[in-house]
């Protein structure tokens, strides 16, 4: 497995899901009483609000819908505030992301039970297979220039779990270790998902003839 090749500092986490201890993100609806400590609210603002754009970006890519993303981010911040006392670090962004991911998974479950889901994708995009068995001659294929809108569409077109891994790495610049904690998977799994995600994205990039707006 590739996992053993990681830097020593990160390799220890390869062993398992350190997530639950490091990031207490499974919540019960208890104890709203402590939310009225103004100092806590201020600390929470200072620590968490700078990541609002980051959280919204992640939610957009995970949920593929602008309205659902807003709702998920708001729910994420409410849960984060409620559990801010038990937050033990080390960095707040991965902690917020782990909460947000759980919120989004709840949304997935809801959608699964109700078929009418809205989507950022154009109507036909989801049905188009992104990954085709192309001739493996990458040296002959140069990536055509793409604008951000097109690249976003490629990313949104990735299937889970490749999409979330890709977004956490390429857009949020998190380390493999941080991603592993958020998605509760070993670092080696993160690495192979990322390799797969990039292969899929590159295939989509190469396959599409016309840059679309």
């Amino acid at each position: 497995m590739p996992g053993r090749c990681l830097q020593a500092g990160r390799a220890s986490a390869f062993s398992a899901s350190a997530g639950p201890q490091a990031m207490p993100v499974r919540f019960s609806n208890d104890d709203p009483g402590s939310d009225h400590d103004p100092g806590k609210a201020q600390r929470f603002r200072d620590a968490a609000l700078p990541y609002l754009d980051d959280a919204y970006t992640l939610a957009r890519y995970l949920l593929r819908d602008a309205n659902d993303a807003e709702d998920a981010v708001q729910e994420c911040y409410l849960r984060a505030l409620k559990h801010f006392d038990s937050y033990r670090g080390p960095a707040i962004k991965p902690w917020l992301f782990a909460i947000l991911r759980n919120v989004c998974r709840a949304e997935f479950a809801r959608r699964a039970s109700s078929p009418a889901a809205t989507d950022d994708l154009p109507d036909d995009a989801e049905q188009t297979p992104l990954w085709r068995e192309t001739q493996e001659t990458p040296e002959a294929q140069l990536l055509r220039r793409r604008d951000a809108t097109t690249i976003r569409r490629f990313v949104i077109g990735l299937d889970e779990p490749f999409r979330e891994t890709f977004v956490l790495r390429e857009i949020h610049n998190l380390s493999y270790r941080e991603i592993a904690d958020i998605v509760e998977a070993p670092v080696g799994t993160v690495m192979s998902r990322l390799a797969r995600a990039r292969a899929l994205l590159r295939a989509a990039w190469l396959a599409e003839e016309e840059p679309s707006k």
Binding site: P2, C5, L6, Q7, H36, D37, P38, G39, K40, A41, Q42, R43, F44, R45, D46, A47, L49, P50, Y51, L52, D53, D54, A55, Y56, T57, R60, A69, E70, V73, Q74, Y77, L81, R88, G89, P90, A91, I92, K93, W95, E136, P138, E139, Q141, L143, R146, D147, A148, I151, R152, R169, E170, I171, S175, M191, S192, L194, R198, L201, R202, W205
Partner: protein, 253 residues
């Protein structure tokens, strides 16, 4: 190494996630394999294109307002703008600093003060906010506080003990000007706050955690101390012990 292995590991190579030894193994394989060389070049090109495209979304203003409205109101909402830049940079988590703050305060406000101390620590991590006086010399840092504070915070050089003195700063906690002395351990900053207290009895150190930061607090000779850092608790304890030992040794106050 086989191409199958290299095909996955070259991503870790691009992302800088391999240690030197394994990076060399992958590079050695790639150097002798035209196929993997092309793969690496192609993925590097793609990473570059992705990095230069703005793929992020900005949170809509109404979302920000909704979240703001759902938070309990605080006494000093305008401080938010001061702290706005905090943690926007990815470098923030890489910094660890130690600050020493000297303040006069009343007993009984401990939790609130600790919160403010943590906020001051966070604020100090913003680029350019860590120190007002940059010096590794305690005889430069200590006089710098003269006339700026109603107490003279003890400044002790712990560089030989593994905690580098990097400077001092004026800060505000509990609406008062306080002194902060900043230390660094590897990439970690530690904030040690010092406050005058009416009592002169000695209180042994206790460690608490707020918001992911460890806070070691103790009292000695009429001063309260809070050392704040993202350092692990045992290393912060080591800092506190060495600081106290050095205080005893020097007889400084």
């Amino acid at each position: 190494m086989t191409c199958d292995e290299a095909e996955i590991l070259l991503h870790a190579l691009i992302d800088g996630e391999l240690d030197a030894g394994h990076a060399r193994e992958v590079e050695d394989h790639i150097a002798g394999c035209p196929r993997c060389t092309a793969q690496l070049a192609a993925y590097r090109e793609m990473s570059k294109a992705i990095a230069s495209a703005d793929l992020r979304y900005a949170a809509p203003p109404q979302l920000r307002r909704r979240i703001e409205a759902s938070l309990p109101q605080t006494r000093t909402p305008n401080r938010r703008s001061v702290l706005k830049g905090f943690a926007m940079g990815s470098a923030v988590s890489a910094i660890a600093a130690t600050g020493l703050f000297a303040i006069l305060l009343h007993d009984g406000d401990d939790q609130r003060i600790m919160s403010e101390v943590v906020s001051a620590h966070l604020r100090s991590l913003q680029a350019g906010h860590l120190t007002d006086v940059v010096s590794t010399d305690q005889h430069t840092v200590k006089p710098w506080f003269n006339g700026k504070l109603d107490v003279s915070p003890p400044v002790i050089d712990l560089t030989a003990q593994g905690f580098a003195l990097i400077g001092g700063r004026l800060d505000y906690v509990d609406a008062r000007a306080i002194g902060a002395i900043v230390y660094r351990r590897r990439a970690h900053v530690i904030n040690l706050f010092v406050a005058q207290t009416p009592g002169t009895e000695r209180h042994a150190a206790k460690t608490e955690t707020i918001q992911g930061f460890n806070i070691r607090r103790w009292s000695d000779r009429g001063l309260n101390y809070w050392a704040v850092s993202d350092l692990a608790a045992d290393e912060l304890a080591e800092f506190g012990e060495k600081f106290e030992a050095a205080m005893k040794g020097s007889g400084a106050g």
